[in-house]
Subunit: 477 residues, 2 copies
Amino acid sequence: MNPLEQLMNPSSIAVWGASNNPAKMGTMQLSNILGTGYRGKVYPVHRSEETVAGLRAYRHATEVGAPIDLALLVLPTHAVGEVLEECGAAGIKRAIVVSGGFKEIEGGSGIELEREITRMARSHGIRFLGPNCLGIFNSLCDLNTTTIPLPPGGGHIAIASQSGAYTAMINPLLRNMGVKICQTISVGNEADIDLTDCLDYLKDVDEVRAVGLYVETIRRPREFVSIARATVKKKPVVAIYVGGTEAGSRSSLSHTGALTGPDELYDGLFREARVIRADDIDEMIDMLWALSSQPPAGGDRMAVITNSGGPGTSLAYHAEKVGFRVPLFSERLSASLADVTGRLAFVRNPVDLTFETNVHLFKQIAEVIFDSGEVDGAFIYGIFGWRDFAVNMVKRFPALIELENSITAEQRSFMEKLGEVSRTYEKPLLVMSFLGGESDTVQGLAENGIPAYPSASRAARAMRSLMAYGAIVDGLG
Amino acid sequence: MNPLEQLMNPSSIAVWGASNNPAKMGTMQLSNILGTGYRGKVYPVHRSEETVAGLRAYRHATEVGAPIDLALLVLPTHAVGEVLEECGAAGIKRAIVVSGGFKEIEGGSGIELEREITRMARSHGIRFLGPNCLGIFNSLCDLNTTTIPLPPGGGHIAIASQSGAYTAMINPLLRNMGVKICQTISVGNEADIDLTDCLDYLKDVDEVRAVGLYVETIRRPREFVSIARATVKKKPVVAIYVGGTEAGSRSSLSHTGALTGPDELYDGLFREARVIRADDIDEMIDMLWALSSQPPAGGDRMAVITNSGGPGTSLAYHAEKVGFRVPLFSERLSASLADVTGRLAFVRNPVDLTFETNVHLFKQIAEVIFDSGEVDGAFIYGIFGWRDFAVNMVKRFPALIELENSITAEQRSFMEKLGEVSRTYEKPLLVMSFLGGESDTVQGLAENGIPAYPSASRAARAMRSLMAYGAIVDGLG
């Protein structure tokens, strides 16, 4: 069994390093376990305090007198070994070692120490994450062991990362974008469990539909390729790699003790593994959002539907720039669109509705276009909420407030139907909108599986990942 | 005198097309004029209503009986000519023609109509924006004539655009990022006032420190180049151009009747004009934020200061990727940094402080590094606010709430001092943070002239624009 099964879904956790000092990392992490809604048992272990953060504290893990599924160690480097012995004595088989000061230390003095704790863990049958990691988040059991609160749980994205920041610090970014996240794993120095183990675990978590990896090194390339190829049969994998320049490489070494290689080497490795490479964390999130919620694109022909010329032109331009075609529609399709819109102009691709307030038109147009078979996917730029844009109106026209429920209900129903369009035709549909995760529009779209991006280039690159995954799936035959 | 002087700073405005129907564009635009804080006089003109949106309405502009500096026309195409005559009769010399249906119409039927209104305006000495535009925003007099409320006014950025969306629809995006905007001008079809006029006007607005342009065509290339070169002596100019692909070109034509050219042509034109080209609206805003608040970079050597390995490595990688060097610090500088940080390791560039809560260290490190002369700019990744990350702590440790004022005051003072560092050493400093415009951190940094970007690649590309402007300024001798 993959060691992460139990580590990600523990029924009980013992925590070392939490105290009643709120400035300590361990205290933050315990607070986040308690504050995120975790329903299992939590046992702080402390050598002197009677209570920690309002919970009864135990002097020693063996004092707990009940099974402990997971140990969380947020301790000074020198104390880790002793506590792993304690875990062994208490029969604990899974651990997260947050503590740093091991392989990543300049000069190599931590290397032997890391080997030592690894040997010690192994002798007790303990499988562990870290050291030098930030822990995990699993929205399926509301467990957040990291220092960062408010992960926007839900959705179908998982991230495994050699940087803790890219699993937890990104929480505010995800919220601002309106992206939800199902699971994250910070692997740190990978003394035991590594990214390949994570991929192997995430492959079989049904709720996870797309996996992102932050990579400074791949320690077992052969196994990685084999497990990645098995994973992409079920779900797409995206990776970022930042070790491939001089300072990037130097920085990786001091960060997780990673021995990096040139960019081209990792390009080749990812290609071999059928992993889609992203440029940076924001692009990876953009791609994961699309890949976890929309069908892959079966080809390179894209439609652009807009109610504003600039964004429509930008979508056409950036779609072409990243390798799509934005073909002129046939006379027949244009005639059908003219019937639907009641207009003769601007229906040749892009379809420009200019200041159209009937949201249902967007859905009808997408259907007619998908039904024609002339495109493999579509971009929509439009405004589908109203409150963000009616602030000053509502002040002057109180009648709008009375209408609020009906407007909102109509928009909800539109977004549901729009979500169905791409599922029905199995063609991807991405939205561009300047609204963020706090808006009704982006939230409503996201709930119905439609990602919304704040620029044409970001939408285009996310769509490209859907075409890349389409090609990967085809290649698997 | 530039026609935009009076158009951007009117003491009084007459509005055609607003009514008591909140679903009409004109009503939205009037509501935004009234709701954004404009302090001049506003006169709705309506042929039948007695009052519009709570204001006295006039049958005819000549009825107003007081000088009118600006006319806003939000009317059906066919009504524009008649109202321009009315403006002439009332002595109005500036207008914004929002109405569409002119040159941008497929088949060319609107071309003659556009010539006609232009001749008519000229015969009355009326200079106008549009047709087919969204109007203007000027935070210096709180005037917002667009359909979109809540422009985040202030700051030192101006945008002039052939797309209305890229001047006004972007308001929520700007707010989410924490970017403020001073002036925007939507030029539409440019029958009279064009982008070159805008540049000429913005060149002399002292509050504007960086100008962005959304370009589908440059109608007077020779004048554009000459005025742009005069502008960049005072402030940088950034442009996006999306007409350079097949569908992009087709879309531009139907959007503003723009005749586009290939990408390379515009690359050359921008180079000739000393205008920095951005890829898309988000990159343009990123660049404008840096260029309007930080000094240009005098060279390509960058420092990276971080309290988290992944973002630090990513900053080093992306800085190198876009053409910077991230040089290893000298022994001497490293020794000074070790003195400041009390650490021996991780001070060679990147400087990695890992989980450092003393914010003042970041400022001291930036000073020591800038003082050494070994770099031309610096990136910082760090957390400088606390509330976003202490939600669950505050619940468990009420003492933190008591400490709130002192923590917040300390962080404010740190951000002020950090803002001074780049001004003192005349070297740019950009922050990377996953927090958005709603956070204390990003707001505090922005107030002190430090932009914060949500990814390493975005920070790196924004810094590259500061190096590009440095080279432009140097080239001017």
